[in-house]
């Protein structure tokens, strides 16, 4: 390896054609020979030595791949640096001018500053990395030429201008910042990834390849056709986990290029007719309810502990006995206060009457249920484990994929969470929760209840609407198309053994839950395709009390068909077509069999 260092000593007055600034030209040359290399300053023939001090360390190598070249200084006026490079390393410590690495086939170029337009023009291999911005026409071919970048990769950490990837035929362009208009214009193949925003006319006249925009797009051309939502995009071996609208085009060219644009950052495109959650903080909304629990602790039968760290822990059903009203409040807290709840009595079959919870969403149903209430956060430290549910999840984004689907996250400085556990959270667990939610410990409110408690029974019945939405989502239904959710489920009597309690409370939903959703779908097909699969009856494990199923599975949850977790009866009403679809039924006999378990000690 030979190290060749050039220091700019005289800035040129006019642009310099500097094809000689390349490992290819330097290979096998001494510093004296390098200084003699020709450059063209405007119309004047000049020598490299006029502009640069040259130092060569090590034996000159005839093979350019053995050359490690460093150029220091502001080279903004030097064009064609690294042109036709086929190997070796070129580092520019400063800015560099037009046509950097034009037609390069191998090796690597690193620019610490900015690179001007036509960086990587028509490149066929190798790598260019620019830490600053680039000008327009990144990787684009010479004017009029219809064969663009063929292979290799270009990474820009800053922004890029217009027409990046023009006529691109292969390889990868990755831009951390924003891109200007006409991104991927006339692209044939290859991949362009823009992590920031991009200007109008993205993908115009593209025939193939993929453009991925993680930020906002200024527009989608009318000649692009929306195809689907995808949960990831691939760039080489790398997968980008985010929710994308996928478009194909440009149909004016008969093209089949793919345009992935971030769904959550481009909600206004809304090709699916989704209802996006806007401007609600599920944590903030529950603060009055939490305050009520704390202020009226005694009446509600709950115990409040202010932890030394500053976090507040409210025992609603562990040692505390709780109350029906506390159960309702806790349920509402879990739903981010985006619902109304009442409790009454309902007949199930001829001779069974049970206390029943009625629930109606008042806000965004998917945010209330999947975004808050869903028990999707396994809080795990060395000395503690619990399943967490409630609004705090919208801060910790657990699980992340679900929030991508909803395009929702909360940014409140208060976090409220319900733990279903048999012991109080430890110091480490509190710290973990606060950190993950990015709130101070003083802003953390932890409610805790075991399944074998009154509050536990009530709040599990209160999950009937969530269970249905979750199942529909698992079946591929877009939860953001649900406008309203209503449901009811019997409230299970409390059983002291948590496994049995878990079984009975589940049965209340699986065999006694009845839900109704108002949805907005362009066609009924979206509903017809899944409705029969939606209720619990569609599961192979349907038909006996959950406790029995659980025992048969050897106490292993993962052996149970996840499709079982659904309300007994599901009704979908499509407001766009006026049609209503129902599947499943309430099963009083199985509810009875389940309740018979109460007698087992």
């Amino acid at each position: 390896m030979v190290e060749i260092k050039l220091q700019l000593k005289k800035a040129p007055k006019v642009p310099v054609f500097a094809e000689a600034l390349s490992p290819k030209a330097f290979a096998g040359k001494s510093s004296g020979e390098i200084e003699e290399l020709p450059l063209l300053e405007g119309g004047r023939s000049a020598k490299l030595g006029e502009f640069f001090d040259v130092k060569v360390q090590g034996e000159p190598a005839a093979d350019s791949s053995q050359c490690d070249v460093t150029l220091k200084g502001d080279l903004s006026k030097f064009r064609y640096v690294g042109k036709g490079m086929d190997g070796g390393k070129l580092v520019v410590e400063g800015n560099v001018g037009f046509y950097l690495g034009e037609e390069m086939a191998g090796g690597s170029i690193t620019v610490k500053g900015n690179a001007a337009s036509w960086t990587g023009s028509m490149m066929a291999g190798g790598q260019i990395e620019v830490f600053g911005n680039t000008g327009d026409y990144l990787a684009a071919p010479y004017r009029g030429v219809q064969e663009g970048m063929l292979n290799g990769s270009i990474i820009v950490h800053g922004n890029t201008g217009t027409h990046a990837g023009l006529w691109m035929r292969g390889g990868v362009i990755s831009v951390d910042g924003n891109a200007g208009q006409f991104l991927g214009h006339r692209m044939q193949d290859g991949v362009i990834l823009v992590k920031g925003n991009c200007g109008p006319r993205v993908g115009a006249a593209m025939k193939g390849g993929r453009i991925i925009v993680q930020g906002e797009v200024a527009e989608i051309l009318p000649s692009f056709t929306y195809t689907e939502i995808k949960d990831k995009a691939k760039v080489g071996a790398e997968k980008i986990p985010a929710s994308f609208y996928v478009y194909t085009g440009d149909s004016l060219e008969g093209g089949s290029g793919k345009l992935f644009v971030s769904r959550c950052r481009n909600r206004r495109l809304n090709p699916e007719g989704e209802v996006f959650p806007e401007g609600v903080s599920v944590n903030q909304l529950t603060v009055p309810l939490v305050e009520k629990l704390i202020n009226e602790a005694e009446r509600l039968g709950v115990q409040v502990t202010k932890h030394s760290s500053g976090a507040v822990v409210v025992d609603v059903g562990l040692k505390a006995k709780g109350s029906e009203e506390a159960g309702k409040i806790v349920t509402l807290i879990c739903l981010g206060n985006l619902a109304e709840i009442s409790i009454g009595r309902e007949k199930y079959g001829e001779d069974l009457e049970l206390p029943t919870l009625y629930e109606t969403t008042t806000g965004h149903p998917a945010v209330a249920t999947l975004g808050a209430q869903f028990a999707g956060w396994a809080i795990k430290t060395e000395d503690y484990f619990a399943m967490g549910s409630g609004p705090a999840r919208a801060l910790s984004l657990q699980p992340k994929k679900l929030y991508q689907k909803l395009c929702y996250k909360d940014e409140a400085k208060v976090a409220v969470i319900l733990l279903e556990a048999d012991s109080l959270p430890t110091e480490s667990a509190l710290k973990l929760m606060a950190e993950t939610c990015n709130v101070p410990l003083e802003g953390l409110y932890v409610l805790i209840a075991s399944t074998s408690s009154l509050v536990g029974s009530v709040q599990i019945a209160g999950r009937v609407v969530e269970t249905g939405i979750h199942k529909l989502t698992e079946l591929g239904f877009n939860p953001n198309k649900i406008l309203k959710g209503k449901g009811s489920a019997p409230i299970a009597p409390v059983h002291p053994k948590s496994e049995v309690a878990m079984g009975i409370t589940n049965d209340m939903i699986l065999y006694g839950g009845d839900v109704y959703y108002e949805v907005a779908c362009k066609t009924d097909d979206e509903i017809i395709n899944i409705i029969d699969e939606a209720p619990s009856i569609a599961s192979r494990d349907y038909g006996k009390p959950f406790y029995e199923t659980f025992k048969e599975a050897g106490g292993d949850f993962y052996k149970i068909d996840p499709g079982l977790f659904a309300p007994a009866k599901i009704t979908l009403h499509n407001v766009k077509t006026g049609n209503t679809f129902t599947a499943g039924k309430i099963s009083a006999p199985i509810l009875k069999r389940s309740l018979a378990l109460l007698k087992t000690p």
Binding site: G43, P141, Y142, R143, G144, V145, Q146
Partner: protein, 560 residues
């Protein structure tokens, strides 16, 4: 200034000189009997000497050439010409910049080149560009075959007035001969259509291409123009078009005189058999057979050369069809009153059987037409290939081996659909001199060009090749190299190329023809036209006329 080109091996077919060793004496831009002992001597011992090349069909200037330049930056950027103390910088490839055009022609030993398609309205532009092309003598052919005013005269059957109009127009725009492109078809193209046969009526005029061709042929004779009508026929570039081509040649058979009365240009594009691209075949020999039997016709090849080309013709509907076929970029221009034009870049592939058949058509024509005085070497630059490929074409004409080499590489289907492999003829140096200078000069009526007799313009090319030693049939590569790099070139007695480099780049002349017509007929034509200008044109009548002093070095040629 005197100059003596000594001991060269001279080919001057017009003067019956076929490879004799002799000296050429030059004084004041003309070939003379002898010069004084003080003359500058060029030692041409064992070198081949020919008159300067004369090209009668090469698109080198005008609005569509410029459109081609503008739309094809990619054509230029890999072929730059740096400036030198004697030459300007420029770019080359298929549509070179004006200066580069002059230099590259001169380096091949060419000294006269005619631009064959000029819309009258844009003639001023053509002349400005021609003026900028150094070294070469030039001229341009105005486009008459679809001119609305002319068609109106023909529709009314007023051929004398039509002749007056053509004469006035030629003089007004400083043109040289009558050019016809797709007669009637371009007028139809102004309405989005075309005319697909010699007897199909031109929309709105009720006359046929046959009548247009015949009338213009008669007018050309009436005006005693030095060059016959220069014709790009209907149906160019379509399979099966050779029948139209032969019909077109035949439609003026009765007008035959001493000289050819019709010149069909770039006939390669007009010699296709078959019904469609799949069944396409070469019918070059068929056309050659007609030419051999009929002395009233001359043709040039439009020989295809594999590689990059920029198709540009006044044939708008053909260009549009080519654009649809290739999906390449294109432009349409000059659609107003007089004509149309289109430009589409094209890459001729040896592996493409259609392109390969096209390649064979031109060579079939060249080899099967027996009289070299009626078949000329062109590539219809830059349509079938750039003029810089002439040496390649010369090598194909002179060497069966050179042709075999390409034949062995083209698709078998193309070989089967052509007669080329059965043609054994190989051109001699003298015949090459005919098809590249003597014949073209005679066809253009340039009495002082294309030969080295006393009184001729002293345009001379000396090629680095000893024709007595080199067997062109075997050493075709040497032939190709020599014709591409003249070692000396003299233009009007001035050494412009020395040792293969441009030594100086003087300005050439622009020829124009003053037709043989009564002055009062001309005045009447002008008076009639003045009224029409208000109706049809976007410029004033007086501004339309190009005065002679608008040309840098005009050279009038009186017809008759």
């Amino acid at each position: 200034m005197e100059l003596l080109i000594k001991n060269g091996i001279v080919f001057d077919p017009l003067n019956g000189i076929d490879g004799q060793k002799m000296d050429i004496a030059i004084r004041d831009g003309k070939v003379v009997e002898s010069v004084s002992s003080g003359a500058r001597v060029i030692d041409a011992s064992n070198l081949m000497v020919m008159p300067g090349g004369v090209d009668l069909h090469s698109h080198i200037a005008g609005s569509k050439v410029n459109a081609g330049r503008l739309m094809r930056p990619e054509d230029h950027f890999r072929d730059p010409e740096a400036k030198t103390p004697t030459t300007r910088s420029g770019v080359g490839s298929t549509v070179p910049s004006v200066f580069t055009t002059g230099y590259r022609y001169a380096k091949m030993g060419y000294t006269t080149v005619f631009e064959p398609a000029t819309p009258m309205l844009k003639a001023r532009h053509t002349h400005d560009e021609l003026d900028d092309i150094p070294i070469l003598d030039k001229a341009c052919f105005p486009l008459f075959g679809n001119d609305v005013i002319l068609l109106e005269y023909l529709k009314a059957g007023r051929i004398e007035e039509a002749a007056g109009y053509v004469a006035w127009m030629l003089e007004a725009v400083k043109g040289y001969a009558i050019k016809i492109v797709n007669p009637g078809g371009l007028e139809a193209w102004n309405w989005g259509g075309n005319v697909l046969g010699l007897d199909e009526e031109v929309p709105n005029f009720g006359i046929t291409p046959r009548e247009i061709v015949r009338s213009l042929c008669k007018i050309s004779k009436m005006l005693n123009l030095p060059h016959p009508i220069h014709l790009h026929p209907n149906n160019l570039g379509r399979p099966g078009n050779y029948e139209t081509t032969i019909e077109t040649m035949d439609c003026v058979r009765d007008l035959a005189g001493e000289k050819p009365v019709i010149h069909l240009t770039h006939v390669q594009f007009e010699g296709y058999g078959g019904r469609d691209w799949l069944s396409m075949s070469s019918e070059g020999v068929e056309i050659a057979n007609y030419v051999n039997r009929h002395g009233h016709v001359s043709i040039d090849l439009g020989q295809l050369v594999f590689g990059n080309a920029t198709t540009m013709t006044a044939d708008g509907p053909f260009q549009f069809q080519l654009y649809q076929l290739t999906g390449n970029k294109w432009t349409n221009s000059d659609v107003e009153v007089e004509t149309s034009a289109g430009v589409v870049p094209y890459f001729y592939k040896r592996s493409n059987y259609v392109n390969a058949i096209q390649w064979t058509v031109g060579l079939e024509l060249a080899l099967a037409v027996r009289d070299p005085w009626r078949v000329f070497l062109t590539t219809d630059h830059p349509n079938a290939g750039p003029f810089t490929a002439y040496p390649k074409v010369i090598a194909w004409l002179m060497s069966r081996k050179a042709r075999e080499r390409v034949l062995s590489k083209i698709p078998r289907m193309a070989r089967k659909r052509s007669n080329l492999s059965s043609l054994d003829r190989e051109y001699s140096f003298s015949e090459i001199a005919v098809v590249t200078r003597a014949g073209t000069a005679r066809s253009l009526g340039l009495k002082n060009k294309g030969h080295l007799g006393v009184g001729a313009d002293a345009d001379v090319a000396v090629y680095p090749l000893n024709p007595r030693e080199v067997d062109p049939s075997k050493d075709y590569k040497k032939v190709r190299k020599a014709f591409g790099n003249a070692v000396w070139v003299v233009k009007e007695g001035q050494v412009v190329v020395e040792k293969g480099e441009i030594k100086t780049a003087p300005r050439g002349k622009t020829f124009w023809v003053k037709p043989d017509i009564e002055e009062d007929v001309l005045r009447l034509a002008a008076a009639n036209l003045k009224a029409k200008f208000r109706e049809y044109y976007t410029v004033e009548f007086d501004n339309f006329i190009i005065p002679e002093d608008a040309l840098a070095r005009p050279q009038v040629l009186k017809a008759g």
